[in-house]
Symmetry: C2
Amino acid sequence: MPIYPPATVGMPLSEVDTPCLILDLDAFERNLKRLHESLAGRNVMVRPHAKSHKCPQIALRQIALGAVGVCCQKVSEAEALVDGGVGDVLITNEIVGKPKLARLAALAKRARVAVCADHAGNVAALSAAAQQAGITLDVLVEINVGANRCGVEPGEPALTLAQKISASPHLRFAGLQAYQGTAQHLRTVAERRAAIEAAAACVSRTTALLDKAGIACGKVTGAGTGTYIFEASSSVYHEIQPGSYIFMDGDYARNDWTESGIPRFEHSLLVWTTVMSRTSTDRAIVDAGLKASSIDSGMPRVADAPGVEYIKASDEHGVLQLNGAAGYEVGDKLGLIPGHCDPTVNLYDQYVCIRKGRVEAIWPITARGALL
Amino acid sequence: MPIYPPATVGMPLSEVDTPCLILDLDAFERNLKRLHESLAGRNVMVRPHAKSHKCPQIALRQIALGAVGVCCQKVSEAEALVDGGVGDVLITNEIVGKPKLARLAALAKRARVAVCADHAGNVAALSAAAQQAGITLDVLVEINVGANRCGVEPGEPALTLAQKISASPHLRFAGLQAYQGTAQHLRTVAERRAAIEAAAACVSRTTALLDKAGIACGKVTGAGTGTYIFEASSSVYHEIQPGSYIFMDGDYARNDWTESGIPRFEHSLLVWTTVMSRTSTDRAIVDAGLKASSIDSGMPRVADAPGVEYIKASDEHGVLQLNGAAGYEVGDKLGLIPGHCDPTVNLYDQYVCIRKGRVEAIWPITARGALL
């Protein structure tokens, strides 16, 4: 399911059925290039986060432009990416439980795979799984650099865990995961810059301890679309992990970017929807609701229609307040900019890729629903 | 995807991998029966809404207990249900656009199918599709009974549209769809009762006009889990459409039910999750975030742990504030009551059905992602 695809290659956009996810390939490709241009002259590796797109076709394009590999959050995402031809995946997350650890170790036999840890018992379980599979597994210590989610505290707790990893014969200590997630949507540039300066200080304190203990740190990796230029400009991060830059959702668009050094990425991802009811002068109902666009970070925005507001979502309906705008008759189609691209992408089975008003390709969202 | 299922039949719940959706079969079956018991002596048909479960196995159990058929919102949902053995489906929604109308008409050749309309142009398109397929299609007029979403206004506008349907040789006017969606989550019984009394008045005004014009109305259908007893007790509704009663989500649990006549349905649906990080005394991180539980109607609640709060969701993480609760060590598994069952179910490919602590069955969520 669904048996009927929303589009076929060559079809004009006007005929593409709704709701579906459309990708403006020109804007998408400009976003891909813009990221690398913004990093010119900076000595940093790019490892985009594939949890945003869940699609090998996109990961391979990112790698072709110079990315060293991709990140993901789940073993099943990593499996989908490796099956799709990606050779290097960092799981920026803790993986818990024997079935997942066995799959992780099996995957590390056929691709370069690394994983994070923040718990001694989990390190022991990772080591047992690696031994069972007959491999040596790369493990990074995740440190809490201000997001207060996963990660051991910087400094001594991180050193202790790194020592435990280093002492495990089937594991290799591969560096620090230092992602400041809550910094990404702080609205002002000054706030985001300050949050990353604080994160970098946490990292420095930790790497100094590792140095003193004679433990080679490998790499420091982290960063997202909201802040990556600050991590890249710090002297402590070796690798950045932006994900949403390829699509640019409504929530990121509310950030201020002025003189941040981060380019204006374009909205390349839209939910394509049809007006299905129009029984009031000021209200139009579209066929894209909660099951077509995640509202966790705010309602979707109507593309190219600043006066029109998407004010309410139910399962399969969205309510547009027209505020006097003309048009929006039953059958009209329009694009919505999702509030948050990652969970929205996870609702669909494919991207309908558009160029110059026609469907150029359909890319499967291979890791849609990859929760395990 | 996912290639690896979270469970196999016979497995103890403690081994079921996470995150996944678990269905407590005993509670689910009690909910199914309780609905019918609460309607004893009332002359009303039950047509549960399948947008909540998207699963033929569940629809067939509802029909076995006396439901006349099911409702759904999309043609692709209806196709999945008919393919799964359901013989009678009402699409409680407007269907717009030639490709969908052609599929709708084709489906009506192999099952009893009806659809709603609120627009004269759409009625003409429905008629053309029915003619093309060589069928007569049942069409209900949707009227706005207070939700201000789809539906023509009660009274004259409804009569005009019913006349247009009746005058279309390939359509049959099959009644009124009169669902008061915004009434479902009004918190007090008095508010919900008053909203349905107002809706019933809208219906009566419309059926009186239809009678006067000599148009047989067929049936009046509507209602949801929050109010169905009021529609069933009115003299104007012939059929009710509750959906969430089978699962009972967190949002519905916040309603007051005292002396409403609606039984206390049990939480039969849980997101099963694992503690994946525990680096602070007051915080545990679980592996179920936005892609495992929709937060549009509030955060999930931790089952059987009133002191513990799920306070924040990111893509693949949930933050539990422990408030002094013991346990919640890395690897521990627990159940979450979703805030809103419908969009949460739509994130998964299967129900892991549990009885007495073991997996009894795995039911596919066949219409997951059925947007078209």
